[in-house]
Amino acid sequence: MLEGRRGAVVRVALLLAAIVVLPLVVRPVVASEIWIFSIAAMALNLIFGYTGMLSFGQATFFGLAAYTAGLLMIHWQAPLLVVLAAGTLVGALAAALIGYVCIQRVGVYFIMLTFGFNQMFYFIAYKWTSLTGGDDGLPGIPRPPLALGPLGIRLDTSVRYYVFVAAVFLLAFYAMKRVVDSPLGVIFQSIRENPGRAAAVGYDVKRYKWLAFTIAGGFTGLAGVLYSMMFGIVPLESISWIISGDIVFMVLIGGIGNLYGPLLGAAAFKWLSETVSIVWERWPLILGVALVLVVLFLRGGLVEAFARLREATAGRGAEA
């Protein structure tokens, strides 16, 4: 989407405001989780929203990177930046390998392949207890300090960690914005809109799908690493298809095919699982109802809801 300059500046300003306000509105721990899952949701949005491929297995890369980071820190006390790089690399590499197989098929088969691989890696992580800790997860993960040249900034409190996560998120968001604003963005969308025609005008559709899947794998891996340092443990759940479902959920609720949709989706999902879950254990019921309503009546998600809201309040024809 090629947009006017003014709109973009306003949006970025609002995003920075949200980063500052969020930890005052919800606990820093939850605020961190919102930005971590925003990265994962942005990644799925690149595949689903932009390129039109619904992947039900993003947790594979989220979990693999989290385990990699955890093991690097526990056994080799790897520094923070190395762990972030390693997690992103593992996410991208795994996505490249698995993606190469999955993109050979389309539609239901693609969905089932991503789902199948996710289940396969879940059961491997489940059974390889000596490496991953199996059902109990991989505990004892430290938060190495952020070594910027001589000074090492400690990240042990939840507020300090929030600032770090928000910074990494901003870098990831900028990188994703560059990808989407680059020719790749419009090429991926052309593949979503009409793969046949995209090929006819000269694009090797499979190669670009593979590229989108791999890039998304890297971003998802980065989110996985940040998650592993959140609670000092990589739970088995981080590689289960439940997390894949959650990420799909966030992208849909937020609004697909739009860079800000997944952020709104991640915020809505995490806020629901934080505040409502204390009030009512059966809070996933609300998620289910929200998803059904979005799918039936509001396929543009929150982004469309707010757009409609603004049109209603701004009166007819106020905007082009």
Partner: protein, 251 residues
């Protein structure tokens, strides 16, 4: 190019199970000419196009483009060799703007290399210029920012041709560009096709005889998957075999 033929096919065949849609077609198109392919519905014209453009692999026979054997190459390779096609049924990018539709087609011919994907789309001035030029050429300047799905049928056909030109091809395959157009829009489209004649070699599928006869340099006639006649418009008009094929009655 061996003997001036920019495109040559030899014994090109395609079977769909028992049905032989295209049967041993040997076609030759000379560079710079406007070569039309006509024939009743179901005579295999579109299938022939699909075989040439790599949309579907042939069962038999060969295709040469500029002397190079392109038989069975996947469709995404051909634009880079200089051959682009448009589709009988409109086949554009509905939710992208007209500008973006043409821009993405124009961009595919650039060799961006790895770094090319780092720069923003707005930083490719030459692609932007090319895209705007084509949008103007196909007469959609006033609709440049509109989403393709909001265009009228005629405008979408124009965009279809625009996408084909955006690959800056040397040979353009146009599959019934005037199909389903009102008379006035058909006029416009015909003028557009004629304006291309000088700069591109054109292989055109067209039903409206008045247009074919007036703008074609050479015409090939197909019936039941076979090439039954070829020649200048006058030769084809006089050809008894062609009349019988068109006026009914089997050969």
């Amino acid at each position: 190019m061996k003997d001036g033929g920019i495109l040559r096919t030899e014994g090109l065949t395609r079977d769909f199970g028992a049905l032989r849609a295209v049967n041993a077609v040997g076609l030759e198109v000379r560079a710079g000419t406007l070569h039309s392919v006509i024939g009743p519905n179901g005579s295999g014209k579109t299938t022939l196009f699909n075989l040439i453009s790599g949309e579907i692999p042939p069962t038999g026979g060969r295709v040469w483009f500029e002397g190079r054997d392109v038989t069975g190459l996947p469709s995404h390779r051909l634009p880079h060799l200089g051959l682009a096609r448009c589709f009988q049924r409109t086949n554009v990018f509905p939710k992208l703007s007209v500008y973006e539709n043409v821009w993405v087609a124009a961009f595919s011919r650039r060799r961006p290399g790895a770094l090319g994907f780092v720069r923003r789309t707005t930083e490719f001035a030459e692609v932007d210029a090319e895209a705007r030029r084509i949008v103007d050429e196909v007469g959609l300047t006033h609709k440049v920012a509109a989403r393709a799905e909001t265009l009228s049928h005629g405008q979408q056909r124009a965009l279809e041709v625009g996408l084909t030109l955006a690959s800056s091809p040397r040979l353009v395959l146009l599959d019934e560009p005037t199909q389903g157009l009102a008379p006035e829009a058909t006029q416009q489209m015909t003028r557009l096709v004629q304006s291309l004649a000088g700069r591109y070699t054109i292989l055109l599928i067209e039903h409206k005889m008045r247009i074919v006869m007036s703008i074609s340099d050479r015409i090939s006639v197909m019936a039941f998957g076979e090439l039954i006649a070829e020649g200048t418009p006058d030769e084809v008009r006089e050809n008894r075999v062609v009349q019988r094929a068109y006026l009914g009655g089997r050969r």
